[in-house]
């Protein structure tokens, strides 16, 4: 499972992702140049749009919250040796769970009751959506990459059906639910700051960010500080070794996918309870796929994921600024950059790893393993 060439830990976790990111950004700059804009001006706009104002920072962290949830989801499955492409669908269905709770309790109970129930419902719905692909992988050997892709499409059909036929607010054209009761609104960060006397510009950045940080801490404890986490990592790295150690890989697969789906399922807390205040079509809008990039860049470690999620949040926010200021660029440019980051961090990392490893010749692995950093998904 180890990569083709070994690097010192700091180079592996810090230097290599930075080089990959730089390569992706340089290539993006070439694209911007082809579009007829100055890459340097674009970069400056991107950074100032994302981090130059309080509002920009708020939006950056709001987007980052989504990516923390999905990035953690992808990472947990990864540690079990699974590639969960289904976070998009799990986030979608999980959001349905949180949204239903908000619709049900939003005008009946205080936030202190609504929030825990919404978290549990989001996690439960997300986990449930991951359960079938997990079970099929564990017991029937169905390739989880394919089944989770299929489940993304099934989730989209299911949610469209529910929104168009069941949840739609009567007398309304667009497929959206009614607005949640005000008790289900997660307080925005600027409101919370105002309570302690700090003024901060309004933005959709909200309490869900704190929940995402807690989730990251929880994942760290679970994966690196518990017996279960050890079993998870052993099963992910070597199934036969796991069996010899008395660990059941199929049970671990199912548990890891449940946790993965539950984490992705919490996206609705930020997107629906925190910002939109209703259930609407396609609210994850690709966050499940950005989660793949975040997990890859963050090396599947919660700290790395936090950093990468903020980076992608800044990209999302700075990208809208870019689209606003430069007439020849639209928000899709952000998607291009995301794709390039995934390409360099996930698929082309050996391009830089191999020459870098030559700098530390003593650490070259004796027998190169074929899978570049990622386990081959089963």
């Amino acid at each position: 499972m180890s990569a083709s060439a070994k690097l010192p830990r700091w180079a592996e976790r810090g230097l290599l992702p930075l080089i990959n990111l730089a390569a992706a950004l340089i290539l993006s700059g070439v694209v911007v140049k082809i579009l007829g804009e100055s890459p340097w001006a674009a970069l400056k706009l991107l950074v100032s749009g994302a981090l130059g104002t309080q509002e920009g920072i708020g939006y950056t962290l709001y987007y980052a919250t989504n990516f923390i949830f999905t990035g953690l989801g992808v990472a947990v499955a990864y540690h079990a040796g699974l590639f969960n492409i289904g976070c998009e669908g799990q986030a979608y269905v999980g959001g349905l769970g949180s949204g239903l709770v908000a619709l049900w309790l939003g005008d009946r109970a205080p936030l202190l009751v609504v929030l825990p129930v919404a978290i549990m419902a989001g996690a439960a719905f997300g986990a449930a959506w991951a359960l079938i692909p997990a079970w099929l992988q564990a017991r029937r050997g169905s390739h989880i990459v394919i089944t989770t892709i299929m489940f993304n499409f099934i989730a989209a059909s299911l949610m469209t059906y529910l929104l168009v036929n069941v949840l739609i607010k009567p007398g309304q054209q667009s497929p959206e639910s009614r607005e949640f009761g005000a008790n289900a609104f997660l307080p925005a960060a600027h409101e919370l700051f105002a309570k302690i006397g700090i003024t901060f510009s309004p933005s959709p950045w909200n309490l869900a960010f704190a929940i995402a940080l807690l989730a990251a801490a929880l994942v760290w404890v679970l994966v690196w500080r518990t017996r279960w986490g050890y079993a998870l990592r052993v099963a992910g790295q070597n199934q036969s070794a796991a069996v010899y150690a008395g660990i059941s890989p199929s049970r671990i697969i199912i548990q890891a996918m449940l946790l993965s789906g539950a984490l992705a399922g919490c996206l609705g807390l930020n997107e629906l309870l925190g910002s939109q205040h209703r259930i609407l079509i396609d609210f994850p809008s690709g966050a499940g796929f950005v989660g793949i990039a975040v997990a890859l860049m963050g090396r599947n470690h919660p700290v790395g994921i936090l950093v990468a999620a903020v980076l992608f949040g800044a990209l999302a926010q700075g990208g809208s600024q870019l689209a606003f200021d430069l007439p020849k660029i639209n928000r899709d440019m952000v998607v291009v950059i995301q794709g390039l980051v995934i390409l360099f961090c996930g698929a082309l990392e050996n391009v830089f790893r191999t020459p870098l490893a030559k700098l530390w010749p003593g650490r070259l692995a004796r027998s190169p393993q074929p899978s570049g950093g990622m386990p081959v998904p089963r």
């Binding site: 390739h143 998607v335 995301q338 794709g339 698929a347």
Partner: protein, 324 residues
């Protein structure tokens, strides 16, 4: 008679929907048979759809569009091959990266070049699209329900790419199962070490397979933007690449069963648009979404082994490292 006409028209629609699926699924068959997972069908098709529409709009020639579509898909395929075969990167990650990148790149370039909000101009000039070929006497034959209408709707009245896709099925079956190249291709997907031992280049074979996949995805994407519709729009593949992959799995990586799977999936699509809001006897109104989700549900059931058994090529997804 009314019902009969409806059925024939639905079948004609099935053929039109099935064409890009079939092209992409056969494309996937070549690369997956060589041991490379082809999740990149979606991105290669989308890239080709954009390039074809853009070049056709600029030159006024659908054939130039086809060339550009194929070139774009081949370039993406080369990138995929470099990442997965040469660099031994993860095949799933590389393909997802390309899909995401292309989803952004198409509208980005379209906005910069045509300034129409991420679309290409409407292709309405003469020769800018692949239009339907009407066979001799089709309009006369259409007046006679049987077999005239079948002739007019099912055999006649499609564009060139549809017929090419139909011919591709026996052609690919012949290449895969009756030629030396096909034998080697299948061998490299089952046991690359054996192929390597026989002195044949695993890398070379996989590159060839991925390039064939690129060419066919190029044709499929061109069909979407210059035949099925008149121009490129954002996300116009709308998951067809993944659906084609599902069809390939449903067809157990074999040409004729894959053709059947494509027709079945396309039929559910054609049916969904016909059955929108129609109350059927006994069951009432079937939600369109349920019919649209059917291909994915069927594929999951197949993968689970509840409907037959799909066995993937043994070495699929595993990068090959030559022993030193």
């Amino acid at each position: 008679m009314e019902t009969y006409t409806l059925i024939v028209l639905t079948l004609a629609a099935t053929i039109r929907v099935a064409t890009p699926l079939l092209l992409a699924a056969i494309a996937g068959m070549f690369s997956e048979r060589s041991g490379v997972v082809d999740l990149g069908l979606e991105g290669k098709m989308l890239g080709a759809a954009f390039a074809a529409a853009a070049v056709s709009a600029a030159t006024g020639s659908a054939w130039a569009g086809l060339g550009a579509g194929i070139a774009a898909a081949v370039l993406l395929a080369l990138l995929l091959a470099f990442a997965t075969v040469s660099q031994r990167g993860n095949q799933v990650v590389a393909a997802m990266a390309i899909n995401i990148m292309v989803a952004g790149l198409g509208p980005t370039l379209a906005l910069a070049w045509f300034n129409l909000g991420g679309q290409t101009p409407q292709l309405d000039g003469p020769g800018q699209r692949f239009t339907s070929l009407v066979w001799p006497w089709a309009s006369t034959a259409a007046e006679h329900p049987f077999p005239g209408l079948l002739y007019a709707q099912l055999l006649s009245g499609h564009n060139l790419i549809v017929y090419a896709a139909a011919a591709l099925v026996p052609a690919s079956a012949w290449v895969l199962f009756r030629t030396r190249f096909g034998l080697r291709l299948r061998a490299v997907g089952e046991n690359p070490h054996a192929v390597d031992t026989a002195g044949i280049s695993v890398t070379g074979l996989r590159y060839q397979a991925i390039l064939i996949s690129g060419v066919l995805c190029g044709v499929a994407g061109t069909y979407l933007s210059t035949a099925a519709s008149a121009g490129f729009t954002r996300d116009m593949t709308a998951g067809k690449g993944y659906l084609a992959l599902a069809a390939l799995i449903f067809g157990k990586w074999k040409p004729y069963p894959t053709l059947f799977a494509c027709l079945l999936f396309a039929f559910t699509d054609a049916l969904a648009s016909r059955l929108q809001g129609v109350a059927l006897p006994l069951v009432g109104v079937i939600p369109v979404q349920a019919i649209l989700a059917l291909p994915y549900v069927l594929t999951v059931l197949l993968l689970a082994g509840f409907v037959g058994k799909a066995t993937a090529p043994a070495a699929i997804g595993v990068p090959y490292a030559k022993e030193k």
